[in-house]
Amino acid sequence: MKGSLATSGLLHALVLTWAMVSLGSPADFQVADVEALPVDIVPYSEMTQVQQGDKKAPKKETSSPVPTKRPETNQPAENVGDNDTDLKTPPTPNAKPSKSEATASPEKNDKPEPTPDPVEQEIKKVEETKPASEPATEVAALPEAKQEVKPETKPEPAPAEEKPAENPEAEALPEKVPTPAAKPKVEKPAQSAKTPDRKNEQTPKEQKKQASTEESKFNADEIAALLNRQDPSAGGAKRSTQEAALGGKKTIGVGLSANEIDGVKGQIQGNWSLIAGLTGVEEVRVTVRVQLDPSGNIVGTPEVTATGGPEGTRRAVESSTLRAIRRSAPLQNLPPEKYDGEKGWNTLVLNFDPSEFAL
């Protein structure tokens, strides 16, 4: 037995020694050097709900547009800017405020007031002088204008000088030529008749280039703002005083905040009067579904559903809730930009616990 014990011990010693050597240092895991892939978890609402703000500003807890310089106006406005009227063009820093009313139609031709952009006028002139290579018929159509122009334009004044000279004519003209469309035609044939070569020599190429650069800025989405001749660089009329933070151009798909909902509930609760002595009021929960118009008035009959509690109490709570809602219309302090959309307050769903305030 001793011999076999010694044999066994020796065997174990051998095996353990072998294990120490061969299993002593297991091979390291060779993990390929993979670059970490950054993963952002983006909630669905981040894509569908946009708060008004500045697209280039850093992200903050609450979105807010670029601050405007002019004080708050009472006018409801959607687009941020220093304008008095709500334009859709974004505000640019060197803007001057415009006092005129926003109008989409380009009716400036009626007014003889000097146009702010002489270059554009020149472009128009050049464009029309080109087809007018045989201006004889057009000129003949309005001989009066031609006669008047001739003596003035003969000394060949610079284009800049021509305009002030023509404007008084324009004032004088309306009696004879009532249609505004005809007026520029009168002027231009007159000029082209006199100096067709020079016009074409002087600036046709340059002006074409200018025209092409002007055209490239064209954006069909903002056509109304482009047609509007009043100062577009001032943006809209909505005022902002906060620091700019990341957000969209408009507020889209954002529902009322908890504070705003609380405000509405407070308005309704203020008009609430519940009959005293009802049993089991604390078990009743009321859900109200109201359709609202943009001014906060109730459209149709609000759906009031009470659950829990005794039958009689439930009915009493429902009717008192309906009365409270009707009494508190129109609802105040609802942000107009959050009216539209699936989550907007065009349909408002409110939950009440009558025991909190009605007892």
Partner: protein, 240 residues
């Protein structure tokens, strides 16, 4: 806990370091299991040699016994030296036979019974020596996994305490402790598996050898019984 922290720092998971990092209980368990394994293999070596020897002896004795050699002669050669197995049975039976006839026993039934008893005793002693230590193989085979498991449980408990202490669930903190704990189970299985296999094999072998010896004892008993009858008749015939 410090040991686990050390392991996390060095990241050394060799067998020796795993053993050295283990707690006292786990260390004791591992040492005990290694001792059990040593013991198991000692028994395996011993039994293998022993059974081989016994088998050879049985073969040799049967050859001599059935060779037609005189029983008296055989007894004379065997009684001088230490014998085992069938030889021992044969010697014990012959000794009883001799004693009875030297004193002039007259009862053949009593003589037969005494010889059988003597052979039974020797047979029991022989099979006992064949089966000796097989019990400890069985014990190791059944208990070693549990002992290893105990070491593992204690080790993992310690390891979890270390996690709680270091306030980190980093794999580098957890892994060495668990590897060390699992080492205890591994050693337990390493001891238990050969023990179970060896136990089954050796108990079967011992059963075979015992059966062979028993068969010989029965056969020899029959031979002696015949001899007794003959011897009891012969004196009478001689006397007549």
């Amino acid at each position: 806990m410090e040991q686990v922290g050390l392991a996390a720092a060095t990241n050394d998971v060799s067998l020796w370091s795993l053993f050295m990092q283990a707690g006292l209980v786990v260390k004791l368990v591992m040492l005990g299991l290694i001792a059990a394994s040593v013991w198991t293999w000692a028994i395996v070596v011993d039994k293998t040699l022993n059974y081989g020897r016994v088998r050879r002896q049985l073969d040799g004795f049967e050859q001599v016994f059935w060779s037609g050699q005189s029983l008296e002669e055989l007894y004379r050669t065997l009684s001088d030296r230490q014998t085992a197995g069938m030889g021992a049975i044969f010697v014990s039976a012959m000794r009883e036979w001799k004693k009875s006839f030297e004193r002039g026993a007259r009862s053949p039934i009593g003589l037969q019974m005494r010889i059988d008893r003597a052979m039974d005793v020797t047979l029991a002693r022989e099979s006992e020596s064949l089966e000796a230590r097989l019990g400890s193989l069985a014990t190791i085979g059944s208990a070693a996994p549990f002992i290893g498991l105990f070491g593992t449980v204690v080790g993992i408990m310690t390891s979890f305490q270390a996690i709680a202490g270091s306030k980190s669930t980093n794999l580098a903190v957890v892994a060495p402790g668990i590897a060390e704990a699992l080492l205890a189970t591994a050693i337990g299985l390493l001891a238990a598996i050969p023990a179970v296999i060896a136990y089954n094999k050796f108990s079967a072998d011992a059963g075979k050898l015992s059966a062979r010896m028993e068969a010989f004892a029965d056969e020899f008993s029959a031979i002696l019984s015949r001899q007794i009858d003959e011897k009891l008749q012969n004196p009478r015939q001689a006397a007549q």
